[in-house]
């Protein structure tokens, strides 16, 4: 379809979005949605519209500085403002930033370099356990049996070493990435997937069993408490807290300030990650990845250093999640092997696939959608269901009372079902994702179009 044949409505829409009126409309939309969210803090409906606002801002055809200003205002001003009233939103924002970073890291490995990694969460675990070990009292409990340690007063290390460990965690994960990458360099895609999956499982099994002979990880119970870095004195002064309390209409404590702090920290890391990924995409290294992904043999023939490029992909991808692991350990003050299961690895993969392999905005949007699904939508559904179970109403169509529904049927526990359906449907109907990267889209469909080898 050429531009001249475009139908009048879409032409009108085109003109509208390019006119100066559009930013104002977006602004009005955001203001309206923000108002609605503050009016109904528990409503999932308005939360989703609030998040759609981000997409609107991202898709604005206006210059970059305007979009950045908008995004800055929303993330730095509006979200904390709503978060004052409803702390769940800050938690949601924090998790979206965390998983956005993870998805970007995995996207680098799977999307850019074409190496399917099913054990990606292991690098996150490396970062998390690094700070969990050094930031807790575990150093004093090395020779005690897991679960029998006495509570100590104080911690062996200064909490502000967190910032150092943020960097160390990044480096440790990168090293792990290289350690995993080196032996598996020769493997083809599907073998690689299984080996990385095995690697992820090995890390998880180690985490839950390295409580003996030396108690490094405290076994399946996990490590707690873990220190958080000190906050600037201004933020935790009583006058400031009082002012916030009067503003929010509920008591604001240290926990809320920490939620805000971690949200901000995760956001900063996410932004840094996006910038790095963007810069990498069109760099020499990024092009080397594309070449390797599309045809390894040809890439070698063109003089691309295969080993170095692949290892770089593993290392850089891993380092993102290592940093987030450290942040996660501090935020939760608790780390246990359960968090790093295969389901988590696959859920990050689902984010990347949903958003679009090789697409940077796609990874972030995918992360937002899956996180929303995980901690918001399914939970809301579960709550709704358990509310219905209390009542005497009948299920429409079947005529069975809700109360007879087995309590095992809890939607929040059926993540795997949802992920499975998403993966299969995406692969069949839209393998390039919601926001496809142009190159990847062409690649996927080109092969379909002229693959003469297989029989349809």
């Amino acid at each position: 379809m050429t531009t001249t044949e475009r139908n009048p409505i879409s032409a009108l829409f085109q003109r509208l979005t390019h006119s100066p009126l559009w930013p104002i409309l977006v602004l009005a939309y955001m203001a309206f949605v923000t108002y609605e969210v503050t009016q109904a803090p528990r409503s999932l409906f308005w939360r989703v519209f609030f998040l759609i606002g981000f997409l609107l801002i991202f898709a604005m055809p206006q210059p970059m500085w305007l979009k950045l200003t908008y995004a800055g205002v929303v993330t730095l001003l509006l979200v904390p403002l709503i978060g004052l009233q409803n702390p769940f939103l800050l938690e949601l924002g924090f998790q979206i930033c965390v998983f956005g970073t993870l998805a970007l890291g995995l996207n680098l490995v799977v999307g850019f370099a074409g190496l399917l990694d099913l054990g990606y969460i292991a690098f996150y675990a490396v970062g998390a356990y690094l700070w969990a070990f050094f930031g807790s009292q575990q150093l004093w409990n090395l020779y005690t049996v897991a679960g029998t340690a006495q509570a100590h007063v104080g911690f062996p290390l200064n909490p502000n070493l967190f910032w150092l460990f943020l960097i160390l965690g990044t480096g440790a994960a990168a090293l792990m990435g290289i350690a995993l990458g080196t032996p598996v360099l020769r493997l083809r895609g599907d073998y690689l997937a299984i080996v990385t999956l095995g690697f992820g499982e090995v890390i998880r099994v180690l985490a839950s069993n390295l409580s003996k002979p030396i108690n490094l990880t405290n076994g399946p119970q996990g490590i707690t408490p873990i220190q958080r870095p000190d906050l600037p004195l201004v933020l935790i002064s009583p006058e400031f807290l009082d002012r916030l309390t009067s503003l929010a209409g509920r008591v604001i404590g240290l926990g809320d300030i920490y939620s805000f702090f971690f949200y901000l920290l995760a956001l900063v890391i996410l932004v840094v990650t996006i910038v790095i990924a963007r810069r990498l995409e069109d760099s020499k290294l990024g092009r080397a990845w594309t070449a390797i992904r599309e045809d390894e043999v040809a890439a070698i023939a063109m003089g691309i250093p295969l080993v170095r490029s692949k290892l770089a992909a593993f290392a850089i991808g891993a380092s993102f999640s290592g940093a987030m692991g450290v942040v996660f350990a501090a935020n939760r003050t608790f780390v246990s092997p359960e968090t790093f299961s295969l389901t988590s690895s696959i859920s990050v993969l689902v984010m990347v696939i949903l958003g679009g392999l090789g697409s940077i905005p796609g990874a972030v949007v995918g992360a937002a959608v899956v996180t929303l699904l995980n901690i918001d939508f399914l939970q809301t559904l579960s709550l709704e269901l358990s509310r219905l179970r209390q009542g005497a109403e009948l299920i429409p169509l079947i005529g069975m009372p809700w109360s007879q529904l087995p309590s095992q049927l809890d939607p929040a526990r059926y993540q795997r079902l949802v992920f499975g359906i998403i993966l299969v449907l995406m692969m069949i109907f839209r393998p390039e994702g919601i926001i496809p990267s142009q190159r990847r889209k062409m690649e996927i469909h080109e092969r379909e179009a002229n693959d003469g080898q297989s029989v349809k």
Binding site: L118, I194, S454
Partner: protein, 382 residues
């Protein structure tokens, strides 16, 4: 599937001979290694004689390992069949195994509730077990075909990663689907294979004397049945692939789909049959697994599936004999690791590391001999 063409009788007998050789050879080698290790580490423990305890445990560990090995071999065949034909790892095979197990267990529970097992004779008990295996094979085979039709066939022309991701999706979906079915019907998702008949009885081989205490070396009736059923299925599969027309067609499709279709072979049908066979074997293995370990749950397929895949790679993926070999080796290794690791390391590393063993072996093989023990070096297809 790179097997030489043979006549039907040879096709059945040859792999059986090979299998026997693997079992004996594998057992002897691994036993020797452990005994050697026991002699070397003799001084490390004061409280017991390491060599003596190694010898006492050895026969039981071998029997358990071989039993487990046959289960892995049977599952591994499903991976290897599909890989041989499509060059594609059927990630959902572990879940097909799980569905087969549930089908067999549900049937037996149903029959148990109907009173079929009250005071039955031995012969009837054996035929009921056979019935449950057949039920598992049927359900798993049909499921495998449907999965292929829905989730893999539309993606046959897509780049390699696409069907693999779809398979991961199917695997996740099937796990929770079974959990959903079970928990909406029963309220929870664990089921157990009912106990009946003479299967928990043990056949005693001989006794060993440990400090005046006699320890019987026994094998459960269950294990004997498992081994026999597994051997029959492996022989049957070999006959099917090497001695029948369908087998010839499967081999042709594995070699070259396009040429096979030009020769008048219905490629789609042959691929479906391959999935049917692989799925049925997986289902049978599932029921055997449930029969031996009693309890089934929706997530039971993950680890055996992964280990069976390791077995298939170990033997050279795409190679039927190799899958059996790999299964036996892996079963033995796991059984030995579970029994001896904690004794040898004085409790520092226990049986909980046995699952890691499979992965370490897998990574080792892929690094040093990616084509596996019996596989041929294949050039990379894009």
């Amino acid at each position: 599937m790179h097997l030489p063409r043979t006549n039907a009788l040879q096709a059945v007998l040859r792999p059986l001979g090979q299998l026997l050789l693997f079992v004996l050879g594998g057992s002897v080698i691994i036993s020797l290694i452990v005994i050697l290790a026991a002699y070397l580490l003799r001084g490390s423990r004061q409280d017991m004689d390491l060599v003596q305890i190694t010898f006492v445990l050895l026969p039981q560990v071998l029997i358990d390992g071989i039993t487990l090995g046959f289960v892995y071999a049977t599952i591994a065949l499903g991976y290897t069949m599909v890989y041989g034909v499509l060059e594609f790892i059927n990630f959902a095979h572990g879940e097909i195994f799980m569905f087969g197990a549930f089908a067999g267990v549900e049937l037996m529970i149903f029959m148990s509730n109907q009173g079929y097992f009250d005071g039955i004779g031995d012969l009837m008990a054996y035929s009921y077990v056979l019935l449950s295996i057949l039920a598992g094979m049927l359900v798993a085979g049909l499921l495998a075909i449907s999965v292929e039709r829905v989730a893999y066939r539309p993606l046959r022309a897509a780049p390699r990663l696409v069907p693999l991701i779809s398979a991961i999706g199917v695997s996740f979906f099937l796990q929770d689907a079974m959990r959903f079915i079970q928990s909406s019907v029963h309220g929870d998702f664990y089921r157990s294979y009912p106990t009946f008949g003479p299967f928990t009885e043990r056949v005693t081989f001989f006794s060993v004397d440990l400090n005046g205490r006699a320890i019987d070396i026994t094998i459960q009736n269950k294990s004997i049945i498992m081994i026999i059923v597994a051997i029959v299925m492996l022989a049957g599969l070999n006959y099917l692939v090497n001695g029948t027309k369908i087998g010839k067609a499967i081999r042709a499709v594995a070699q070259d789909q396009r040429t096979a279709s030009l020769m008048g072979i219905n490629v789609n049908a042959i691929i479906a049959i391959t999935f049917l066979i692989g799925g049925a074997l997986g289902g049978a293995a599932g029921v055997l697994y449930a029969f031996k370990f009693t309890r089934v749950d929706p997530f039971m397929g993950f680890l055996p599936g992964l280990k069976a895949f390791t077995a298939a790679v170990l033997g050279g993926i795409g190679n039927i004999t190799g899958a059996m070999l790999g299964g036996i080796v892996l079963g033995l290794l796991e059984s030995f690791a579970a029994s001896y690791l904690s004794i040898f390391t004085n409790g520092a590393f226990g049986a909980e590391y046995k699952d890691i063993f499979a992965f370490i072996i897998l990574i080792g093989i892929l690094i040093f001999k990616p084509s596996g023990l019996l596989g041929q070096t294949v050039s990379q297809k894009a």
